[in-house]
């Protein structure tokens, strides 16, 4: 196993906090730039997300009157810590597949639930009516997308006959990626749609709809708290595509230059897909989103599951 210094390095520098924050913020810039290009604008310079974070760290942090101090400050940090841990774990399973342990996929699924959950709690703690509204919407959205998301992930479990992520990576490196099978591609589409909702991007930005509830959960966040929120979102934008690559697109091979190039290519393709979906769809209402996820998307996920069990 790892000793304590190694663990700290893995968690805080590479592939944990520092690395995923830098790549996540760069992906944020890609998102903003592509959005600007779609709207025939020029868009922000490359370092803009970093400058935003530095500026927000220098601003005053306001505790709203009547808010719960502990929950308001603690839960955004918890979400950031959780998503950083996911990033660290994913990279370790990809680089050293033998470090995997039984049920690590379930741990990752739970940890991916942590950022939205902690943001819901922080939103309720801020005691703003609009934040409460946003938090309740986020909760409903979570209930709706988790079912098809877990079904899609368990399609891969059915195909690989194991709950070990390291095992999935090694199997894919010898037998080809799971995306190239009928059940794999359906499950991938389902997971991609669910990730759009997990990121809170249009058409599923119901929880922080800026035009109707003025930011929702984050309405009372100022200064460093907003910076933490933005960092969490940026790291999620990096980690969730990596999660998809690990499960569906054959993992990451960091030992050859071609492997790294392949990873970057896959990551950019998934990121572009997400941003294009974001820019070509209007926002759904929460009841429409619920019907969409529990109806069509779940049916698709069940079809993928059945196909995987049949052996396609």
């Amino acid at each position: 196993m790892f000793d304590i210094l190694e663990v700290l390095f893995l968690y805080l520098v590479f592939p944990g906090f520092l690395f995923s924050a830098v790549v996540g913020l760069l992906s944020c810039w890609v998102d903003r730039k592509v959005t600007a290009k779609v709207q025939w604008r020029v868009g922000p310079p490359m370092l803009q997300p970093f400058i935003d974070i530095i500026k927000l760290l220098g601003k005053e942090v306001i505790l709203p009157r009547g808010a719960y101090k502990f929950s308001f400050f603690f839960f955004p940090l918890l979400g950031l810590a959780g998503i950083t841990l996911v990033s660290t774990m994913l990279w370790i399973f990809n680089v050293f597949p033998d470090k995997t342990f039984i049920g690590d996929l379930i741990v990752v699924l739970y940890l991916l639930m942590l950022p939205p959950l902690s943001l819901i709690l922080a939103g309720f703690a801020s005691k703003n009516p609009l934040a409460t509204l946003g938090a309740s919407r986020e909760m409903k959205l979570m209930l709706s997308y988790e079912l098809p998301f877990i079904l899609a992930i368990f399609t891969i479990v059915a195909k690989s006959h194991s709950l070990l992520m390291g095992n999935m990576v090694t199997v894919q490196s010898t037998q080809g990626m799971y995306l190239l099978s009928a059940s794999g591609i359906i499950a991938f589409i389902v997971a991609l749609i669910c990730i759009q909702a997990k990121l809170g991007f249009v058409p599923f930005d119901i929880a922080d709809a800026e035009q109707e509830i003025a930011g929702g959960i984050i309405i009372e966040f100022s200064g460093a708290l907003l910076a933490i929120y933005k960092l969490t979102k940026a790291i999620m934008l990096f980690v969730l595509p990596v999660f998809l690559i690990t499960l569906f697109l054959g993992g990451i091979n960091v030992f050859t230059l071609w492997g790294i190039a392949q990873f970057i290519l896959k990551y950019v393709i998934i990121l572009t897909l997400i941003v294009v979906i974001k820019n070509t769809n209007p926002r759904l209402r929460i009841d429409q989103a619920l019907r969409f996820f529990w109806g069509k998307v779940t049916v698709l996920a069940v079809i993928a599951m059945v196909l995987a069990l049949v052996g396609w």
Binding site: R41, P44, I54, G58, K59
Partner: protein
């Protein structure tokens, strides 16, 4: 450290738009700044939905009795350091200033950093005004 924060603040302004009983003319001109022709996101200027996220308050309109307490509240809700920009002729006194429901020029209610006159001011004038504020920071 302080210089770093100031450097970052100049390159990433989050703007909150307060309509203090305006006629909607200046508001539309403000939205022009975000369109492809001017595109102020090039300089990191973004419109935000909550005063808690904002660095700059853009105030438009002749301030009336109804909006004045709310305006003070919005000003207090904005975290420091903050800048108040008065857009248009109305906030600095105009033909409406003797009306029974107008409380008066904006600087009676909250401190103002810069006035950008015009009815409405041109988008170019607004960008020039913002640049002057940045020099003051």
């Amino acid at each position: 450290m302080k210089r770093l924060f100031r450097w970052a603040l100049k390159r990433s302004l989050y703007v909150y738009h307060v309509g203090a009983s305006a006629c909607n003319n200046c508001d539309i001109e403000i939205l022009d700044l975000l369109t492809p022709k001017f595109d102020v996101e090039r300089f990191g200027i973004v419109l935000v939905g909550s005063p808690r996220h904002a660095d700059v308050l853009l105030v438009t309109g002749a301030v009336n009795k109804l909006i004045a307490p709310r305006l003070r509240e919005v000003y207090e809700a904005t975290p420091n350091p903050k800048v108040v920009v008065a857009i248009g002729t109305c906030p600095s006194g105009n033909i409406f200033q003797d009306s029974y429901n107008v409380v008066g020029p904006l600087d009676k209610i909250i401190p103002v950093d810069i006035y950008i006159p015009g009815c409405p001011p041109k988008p170019e004038a607004m960008i020039a005004g913002i640049v002057k504020v940045l020099e003051k920071l």
